[in-house]
């Protein structure tokens, strides 16, 4: 690889291991650790002070996630550029495998068991999609990116996995893939009028899409429109969630004092509805602190994206950050009754390994972008560097 280097810091093509470690974004790392710690404290409260229920498991997953994050961060961002399509291809194959297994097993299946660990291909796909799109737009100029013909490829890159995930059926992840893909298209400069057209088309397709939804999904959407429709059935979750949130008030009911969650009125309290518990016990203040942490994380991500001297890194960091934002927004909007109930966890807080590890791997990539921020990468391998 022959790179033209100008500035003094870029006098060396390759960074030494020590230099990499020294340039890790410790502020972002501490923020991530603090947020996960907050989540573990909430899980501790939910388990009535027991560490064996959720805290231990979650801590182990955090340790794994942390290790992966640092490892990914230390790997050269050009490596990630190289493997972007491979990762995407692998994710597609895994999704198809799950689909096939689902057909055989007659029922929803999201997991692949590869011996030592099980993982959800849809999670891998979230990262892989960002990587693939980042590589695609890294390799195309703005002019090309604004041409409809060029956009066929990224459109397929987004829609194929989204369709596969929707088949599982996993409405939440499908929406995430569409939103993240859309955000990246927006960031790389696709003309805004295409978005307007897409939104119009999407709205037009809604009535047809309705028929493809499962009964429980239709139920959730109808319930969202009118939560009191069935207060003991589909509306129960959201109603109890709102009661928990509301009863928390400004300062909350106090740590380990939330009645709604401790008395099991809240469903999924340790996973998708954990924000409710947090807001019940810590009140509006606690909720705003958490949202503040998220805003800081997103701002960090955006700053890293803007700071990168290579387009791949920019798109990668901004894409991952957008995905993180989608998690935050969809989850909180869902538990506060702004959006229908879809299965999206609260990032870095909800109990569950896959989402946590995926997100931390994502942040690993963001930090890798930061570590390798000054490396310029030619649009095409061997091409001129700007």
């Amino acid at each position: 690889m022959s790179l033209e280097l100008s500035s003094s810091r870029l006098s060396k093509v390759e960074l030494s291991f020590g230099q990499k470690v020294a340039s890790l974004n410790w502020g972002l790392i501490i923020l991530i650790c603090g947020t996960v710690g907050f989540g573990i404290a909430v899980l501790y409260s939910l388990a009535e002070g027991s560490t064996s229920t959720w805290v231990q498991q979650q801590s182990i997953r955090f340790a794994i996630g942390f290790t992966l994050m640092i490892a990914i961060a230390l790997i050269d961002v050009r490596f990630w550029l190289r493997v972007a399509y491979i990762a995407y291809g692998f994710a597609i194959v895994a999704l198809l495998a799950v689909e096939a297994a689902g057909i055989i097993g007659k029922g929803a299946q999201r997991w692949v068991d590869i011996g030592i660990i099980t993982f959800q291909p849809s999670e891998l796909m979230k990262i892989a999609l960002v990587m693939a799109l980042a590589r695609f737009f890294h390799e195309h100029t703005l002019e090309e990116a604004q041409k409809v013909r060029t956009l066929a490829v990224p459109a397929l890159l987004i829609l194929v996995p989204a369709a596969l995930v929707l088949q599982q059926p996993d409405l939440g992840t499908a929406a995430m893939l569409l939103l993240v893909g859309g955000a990246i298209l927006l960031l790389v400069g696709v003309k805004l009028r295409w978005f307007a057209l897409l939104i119009a088309l999407g709205a037009g397709a809604l009535p047809f899409g309705w028929n493809f939804l499962h009964d429980y999904q239709k139920d959730r959407i109808l319930t969202f429109m009118d939560p009191e429709r069935d207060p003991l059935g589909a509306g129960y979750h959201i109603l109890q969630s709102k009661i928990a949130l509301g009863s928390g008030g400004v300062f909350g009911r106090g740590y380990m004092e939330g009645t709604q969650s401790h008395l099991n009125f809240l469903p999924e309290m340790q996973t998708d509805f954990i924000f409710t518990t947090l807001a019940e016990e810590f009140g509006l203040v606690g909720a705003l602190v958490l949202i503040g942490l998220y805003v800081l994380l997103i701002a960090y991500g955006a700053a890293i994206a803007l700071r990168s001297r290579n387009h791949f890194g920019r798109i990668l960091a901004a894409g991952i950050t957008s995905m993180f934002f989608c998690y935050v927004f969809i989850n909180i909007a869902m538990v506060t009754g702004v959006l229908p109930v879809v299965g999206v966890p609260l990032p870095l807080i909800s109990y569950g390994g896959t989402a946590l590890v995926t997100l931390m791997c994502g942040f690993g990539l963001v930090i890798s972008v930061y570590v390798h921020r000054d490396i310029r990468i030619p649009r095409r391998p061997g091409g001129p560097v700007a």
Partner: protein, 638 residues
């Protein structure tokens, strides 16, 4: 060239990042606004809903008040009820459905205590209906032996919970069942005026004092606020407000005397009422045969119920207050007093009894075939001469007789609070005209003169009548429940409530009746001489009565009255007896009625004697004197 391209991309990227950042800020603002709305604006409302969610109000059943006798001994109390409960959730074992695991536990339980198959089916049915952590009753009133056996085996019986509840008990059992009554589960038709009635297993008074004093006995339910989780499981108690225990009710009944009377009545279909002639206290009120009130508490089986209902001796009826019988000759004091008070005849009025009396074309017989000869009023009472009373009844007429009977409380239902008191019947001309649309016949007056015909009275009414004869003609109101004393305490037994009321009849007239009733028992010519009390100072006075159930035909009379043992039970005469004692200063009155018992003096008289002797022996004023054991006088004959 490449640098410019890169610059263009970067500028666009920055612009778009700002755009996306702005959109994200806007979206997050929506969420923050939403949180503000939920957690600040509507916080109060949601706080209330959260409390409603978690706090549930439970009622605590108050312990039922006791029913005590005049000595403070328990007639109806609460005792511990050993129960076996089953919590389906706790039977669970991996790999089994709840039903299967419950069934297995029940099979294990059946090895320890007997468990009928239909009971097992019932429990399994309930398992499906109730939530899994709610206990199901497996058995109630388990014996102590079975209960301890289950306790010992508890580790091998997952889900089985031995429990101690409260249940009603009646130490005297059938002896006082008609008075005390019983409790039973709240039925669908009951008026639910108190939320406590909705508690599962709550029992209310269904008969007797248990029913009439139910509100007092019931008490007030306590409340307990408990925190429940989303499944209704109780997590902890937040606060508890103890209820008020039901008030105790003191009865005028003397438990041991009641037992004595019941034992004395034995297997007869009979009834006896013992009354304090001064206070009106009912010291004993027995009705046989009886039933065990405890059987009603948990519901009777159909066989048990059928047996009670079809029994021709009517165990469910309180004969003392509900049984209406012709009083027979025990009514004669009323006729005598009616004659004396109306000044139609004097006590020296004499009638010759030839054994029968003719009125129009009908012949009215005296019970004594050969006749009594010449008798005055006291003598006629002594020997219970029917002809004498035909004579004076004819002279005074039915309305005067009826007036006197009513003055002594006959014809109206006394109110003891049992709800089953019957009025009996005292006929008048007007009554017959309006009820039957027929005019009164002179012969009916004669029949009324010997307490037969239309006239009926309950044993309670006869006891009251006798008490009023005994106490100098003063009106007494029979009572069963002791009223609260001045301190507001309920049921301190008081003996003397001096009645200042004007006597019902003139003392000299009453003296004639007393004389006659004294001689009935204490004169050798008296109908109940054999039933006299020989102990000095305890002597009683009385009047026998034998009331016909079926008319005696002319043919029967000519053949001579058949031996009582040859007459079917239900056609035999009722044996009635009223008495009071001691004759010097009467304190106790009694009425005894043995259904189809035969002669009043021979069957009911000895019962009255034994009871009056017993009640005097138990008299608190006589305590310390020498024991009066039963040295009965020789053989009786009415």
């Amino acid at each position: 060239m490449e640098r410019q391209r890169e610059q263009g991309r970067y500028k666009t990227f920055v612009r778009r990042t700002v755009l996306v950042g702005g959109a994200q800020t806007a979206l997050l603002s929506i969420l923050v606004g939403r949180l503000y709305y939920l957690q600040v604006v509507r916080s109060e409302q949601y706080r209330m809903l959260a409390d409603e969610n978690r706090i549930s109000l439970r009622l605590l059943a108050p312990p039922r008040g006791f029913i005590l006798d005049r000595n403070g001994d328990t007639l109806a109390g609460n005792s511990q009820n050993y129960r076996i409960l089953l919590v389906p959730e706790q039977t669970k074992t991996p790999g089994m459905t709840t039903k299967q695991s419950v069934d297995r536990t029940l099979q294990d339980l059946a090895k320890v205590i007997p468990l009928a198959d239909y009971e097992r089916q019932r429990i399994l049915r309930e398992v499906g209906r109730k939530r899994e952590f709610l206990p199901i009753t497996v058995a109630e009133n388990v014996t102590w032996e079975d209960f301890s056996r289950i306790n010992v085996n508890a580790p091998d019986l997952p889900g089985i919970v031995p429990d101690v509840g409260e249940t009603r008990n009646y130490p005297l059992g059938p002896t006082l069942a008609h008075v005390v009554g019983y409790v039973a589960a709240v039925a669908d038709g009951d008026v639910i005026d108190d939320p406590v009635l909705e508690l599962p297993g709550f029992k209310i008074g269904r008969a007797g004092i248990e029913r009439s004093s139910d509100l007092m006995l019931r008490g007030k339910a306590g409340t307990s606020h408990v925190e429940v989780n989303a499944h209704g499981r109780v997590i902890r108690e937040l606060d508890r407000l103890e209820g008020r225990q039901g008030q105790d009710v003191f009865l005028t009944i003397d438990g041991p005397l009641q037992q004595f009377v019941t034992d004395r009545l034995g297997a007869e279909a009979a009834s006896a009422v013992v009354m304090d002639v001064v206070t009106g206290d009912i010291l004993a009120m027995a009705s046989t045969p009886s039933f065990d009130p405890i059987n009603f508490t948990y519901g009777l089986s159909k066989d048990q119920w059928d047996a009670l209902v079809t029994n021709q001796r009517k165990p469910l009826i309180n004969k003392a207050v509900s049984g209406q019988y012709p009083p027979g000759s025990t009514f004669k004091p009323m006729v005598a007093l009616a004659a004396l008070e109306s000044n139609v005849v004097g006590s020296d009025h004499k009638v010759f009894c030839p054994g029968q009396m003719e009125l129009g074309d009908r012949i009215f017989h005296c019970w004594k075939k050969g006749g009594h000869g010449n008798l005055d009023m006291a003598g006629a009472l002594e020997q219970s001469c029917d002809v004498y009373f035909y004579d004076i009844a004819r002279r005074i007429g039915i309305d005067r007789i009826a007036e006197m009977a009513k003055r002594f409380g006959l014809g109206t239902a006394p109110n003891l609070g049992l709800g089953t008191e019957r009025p009996g019947l005292i006929p008048t001309r007007e009554w017959k005209q309006s009820k039957l649309g027929q005019s009164w016949q002179a012969g009916e007056t004669l029949i009324a003169g010997i307490g037969q015909g239309f006239i009926t009275a309950t044993p309670l009414q006869l006891a009251r009548m006798c008490a009023q004869l005994a106490n100098g003609g003063k009106q007494v109101t029979p009572r069963l429940v002791l009223p609260p004393d001045d301190d507001g305490r309920v049921g301190t037994p008081t003996l003397d409530t001096a009645d200042q009321a004007k006597p019902l009849v003139l003392p000299q007239n009453l003296a004639v009746v007393h004389e006659g009733m004294f001689r009935v028992v204490n004169s050798s010519r008296g109908t109940a001489y054999a039933a006299r009390i020989v102990q000095k100072g305890l002597e009683m006075a009385g009047k026998s009565g034998t009331s016909q159930v079926k008319g005696i035909t002319l043919a029967e009379r000519e053949e001579g009255l058949p031996n009582i043992n040859n007459v079917p039970w239900e056609e035999r005469e009722h044996a009635v007896f009223i008495a009071f004692a001691p004759v010097g200063n009467p304190r106790y009155a009694i009425a005894v009625l043995v259904e189809h018992g035969g002669g009043g003096s021979s069957v009911s008289g000895p019962i009255a004697r034994d009871v009056l002797r017993e009640v005097q022996r138990r008299d608190p004023a006589r305590k310390g004197r020498k024991q009066l054991a039963g040295d009965n006088p020789p053989g009786a004959r009415g």
